[in-house]
């Protein structure tokens, strides 16, 4: 995978998409083979070195990783915890730090007016956009997105993918919608039962090809 590439991971439920992303951000150790993320093996690192590697990898989960009891501003700021010292993280809970960046990121996902809301008061789709805003303030070199558009309507889904694709970071996103994959990604990787069964630049794929892959 090259720097700046945007890869859509497609496949049926249980094909191994989420596992691939979890191995890439180091939360699940690989059981076989070698892993190389941004030139390092997360399994071989520990402590500070591992944290520094992880700071360069941002993950958009299926909006389940947010803390409901915190205001939106803190959940977005959590994207910067790797670079902030602990005291600054603590101070920010009382007096939010770096507000302009948070507001800029929230404006991108059209949630700036909810910045002070408690996160558990938001709808599922709004929470997913908060998760995207967290990655925007993190500014990682590699973005891993696990079905980032699943809870969004078509217009917002398109806009969110455009946002993630427009950061300039390398992007690996698992997607259920073939049209989104073709529009925003440069390469499609298909998984079935944990194995790569399709790997092709989007330029040579048609919507019909991809839809047929899902139907298999």
């Amino acid at each position: 995978m090259d720097v700046g590439e945007r890869v859509a991971v497609v496949g049926a439920s249980g094909a191994g998409k989420s596992t691939l992303l979890a191995v890439a951000n180091g939360s699940v150790p690989a059981t076989a083979g070698t892993v190389e993320v941004l030139g390092a093996d997360p399994g071989a690192l520990s402590g500070r070195a591992l944290r520094q590697l992880r700071a360069r990898v941002g993950t958009v989960h299926q909006h389940l990783e947010l803390v409901g009891q915190l205001r939106v501003v803190h959940n977005v700021n959590a994207g910067r915890l790797a670079t902030w010292p602990a005291w600054r993280a603590a101070v920010s809970l009382l007096r939010p730090q770096g507000l302009p960046e948070v507001l800029a990121a929230l404006t991108e996902v059209e949630l700036a007016d909810r910045v002070w809301e408690r996160t558990d008061r938001l709808s599922g789709g709004q929470r997913q956009r908060v998760a995207v805003a967290r990655v925007l303030v993190q500014r990682p070199e590699l973005v891993l997105a696990d079905e980032p558009a699943s809870a969004l309507d078509p217009v917002l889904a398109d806009r969110t993918m455009a946002l993630l694709a427009g950061t300039g970071s390398t992007l690996v996103a698992s997607l259920h919608d073939p049209a989104l994959a073709l529009r925003h990604c440069t390469r499609v990787v298909g998984l079935a039962a944990g194995r790569v069964v399709l790997d092709s630049p989007t330029a040579v794929l048609s919507l019909a090809d991809l839809t047929a892959f899902y139907r298999r």
Partner: protein, 537 residues
């Protein structure tokens, strides 16, 4: 520049929740006032001369007394404590069952006033600590086993009545109303329509009371009712540290046994075995109930309890004399101002205690919780911390107060800290359980983006656990106020000390005044705590 334009585009201003902030600020002010009242900011509080004695005490932890003679004494003390606990709990469940009928909404129907009065009447026995009942009863009955049994049975009976009534009232009314509509009388209708649905809860709560009764029986021992608590105070006052530690370990074992057995019963009640097509009783529940009944019968024999004592002429005369002397209560100026300042001390002690316990519980909860991905070192520290918390809550607060008096000068502070470490034992476990129940995914997500352990804890565990832990802390504050009286009875100041001094000179009018103050104070604390918990939600 972007920030300014987005603000102009309609970013709302940060609005803090005023009610919560008021509660938070109020708490800090009260805590500061309490610490000042305990003399923390004015002069010495540490007793440097006692550190060597404290060292000797602590060193004896590793070499408890194990000689045969003392172990024999210990064994019979354990039996006495168990007997008091079993009889006290049995009496409480009996009183509770009768009382529940008297205070249930089902009984009163639409007669709101009668129901409210019946409920209010329960606040009096509930507001007084078991030890206070013990001291009052000893004046009526003399040194009789009934003192220990009634001292547990009366306040526990009142609490049990309230909880039983709530359990009955929470049962859906449909089946009961349907039976009544077919012409069944209220009692049979309740037996078939209400009791089956509530029986699991009633059984669980009865066993929970039995667990609590073990602790109370130890505490009553401290004020002279015999058993483990009595042995502990004897060994303590004769400075025999190895014996003290033997008692402490026996106490811890007894508490663990009670909790493990009680929990097994309650788990089984919550998750019953399928019965199938044959009539089959659950062996665990049957054994538990039969063992308890046998234990109650044995306790009756072992303590040589005689119902004749309760109805003897001497008891009647004494009761008439005390009641005549106790009414009207004393309301002269010096006494009232003493009561007021003692009440302030009591509140301050309980506030310091709960603050110490809450801070400690928050810090220890993460370590004490069972880890998601355990390593050997992590599992070992967890086990050590959990054992330490168990030790903290197994030893009654007055004993901790005596231990702290080695290193602190007498006053409000040692009593408050003693109560604090004891409550820490309880609250630490509750906080650890609250932490275990949290969703692990938010924390895992923060780890995955490179957050340090501290930052990850601040942004995931802290905000999610604050609500439940504070609610527990407020609830334990109600308990702590009652326990403050207990620590006071043994000399640490506050209303308890005032009560003990008035009782010692048989000044019954003043005793009534202090008791009224106690009941009012505990009711007020319950009210404030309930309001604060509502603001948390």
């Amino acid at each position: 520049m972007t920030a300014v334009t987005t603000r102009a585009a309609g970013v709302p201003a940060l609005r803090r929740d005023g009610v919560r902030w008021a509660w938070g600020l109020g708490t800090l002010v009260v805590l500061g006032w309490s610490l000042a009242g305990a003399g923390l900011f004015s002069g010495a509080v540490v007793n440097t001369a006692g550190t060597r004695q404290f060292g000797r005490f602590a060193a004896a932890a590793l070499s408890p007394a194990t000689d045969a003679a003392f172990l024999g004494v210990l064994a019979s003390s354990v039996l006495i404590t168990v007997a008091y606990a079993a009889l006290g709990a049995a009496l409480a469940v009996g009183l509770g069952a009768v009382g529940a009928v008297a205070v249930a909404r089902t009984t009163w129907g639409r007669r709101r006033l009668g129901w409210a009065l019946a409920r209010g009447a329960l606040a009096v026995p509930r507001g007084l600590h078991e030890a206070v009942w013990g001291l009052l009863l000893v004046n009526l009955l003399g040194l009789d086993p009934w003192v220990g049994v009634l001292a547990i049975g009366i306040p526990y009976g009142a609490v049990t009545a309230k909880v039983f009534a709530d359990l009955l009232d929470e049962v859906p009314r449909g089946p009961y109303e349907a039976l009544r509509a077919t012409g069944a009388g209220p009692v049979p209708a309740a037996l078939y329509g209400l009791l089956p649905a509530a029986s699991g809860g009633l059984l669980s709560y009865s066993f929970y009371r039995l667990e609590c009764a073990v602790r109370s029986a130890v505490v009553l021992g401290l004020i002279g009712a015999g058993g483990l608590g009595y042995q502990l105070s004897l060994s303590f006052s004769s400075l025999r540290w190895p014996e003290v530690w033997s008692c402490v370990y026996a106490l811890s074992a007894l508490c663990v046994l009670a909790v493990v057995a009680g929990r097994a019963v309650r788990r089984r009640v919550a998750d019953p075995r399928p019965a199938g097509d044959r009539l089959r009783r659950d062996p665990l529940l049957t054994t538990a109930v039969l063992t308890t009944l046998a234990a109650v019968a044995w306790s009756w024999w072992y303590l040589a309890v005689s119902p004749a004592t309760l109805v003897s002429d001497r008891t009647g005369d004494q009761l008439r004399y005390v009641l005549a002397a106790a009414w009207p209560p004393d309301v002269d100026g010096p006494l009232l101002s003493a009561v007021a300042s003692a009440a302030v001390d009591t509140v301050q002690m309980s506030v310091i205690a709960i603050a110490v316990a809450t801070v400690g519980a928050v810090l220890l909860a993460g370590v004490a919780a069972h880890p998601v991905r355990p390593t050997v070192a992590r599992r070992l520290t967890g086990a050590v911390v959990r054992a330490a918390l168990l030790l903290l809550r197994a030893v009654p607060p007055p004993v901790w107060a005596l231990v702290l008096l080695f290193v602190l000068l007498p006053g409000v502070l040692p009593g408050a800290l003693a109560l604090g470490v004891y409550t820490l034992g309880v609250l630490g476990r509750l906080a650890a359980e609250a932490t275990e129940e949290l969703d692990p995914r938010p924390r895992a997500a923060l780890t995955a983006l490179g957050a340090s352990p501290v930052a990850g804890w601040l942004y995931s565990v802290l905000p999610a656990a604050t609500g439940p832990v504070l609610a527990y802390a407020l609830y334990r504050w109600e308990v702590a106020v009652r326990d403050t009286v207990l620590v006071g009875l043994l000399g640490a100041g506050g209303l308890g000390a005032l009560l003990a001094s008035r009782l010692a000179v048989f000044d019954w009018g003043a005793v009534t005044t202090v008791l009224v103050a106690l009941v009012v104070l505990t009711a007020a604390v319950d009210l404030v705590s309930a309001r604060a918990r509502a603001a948390l939600r």
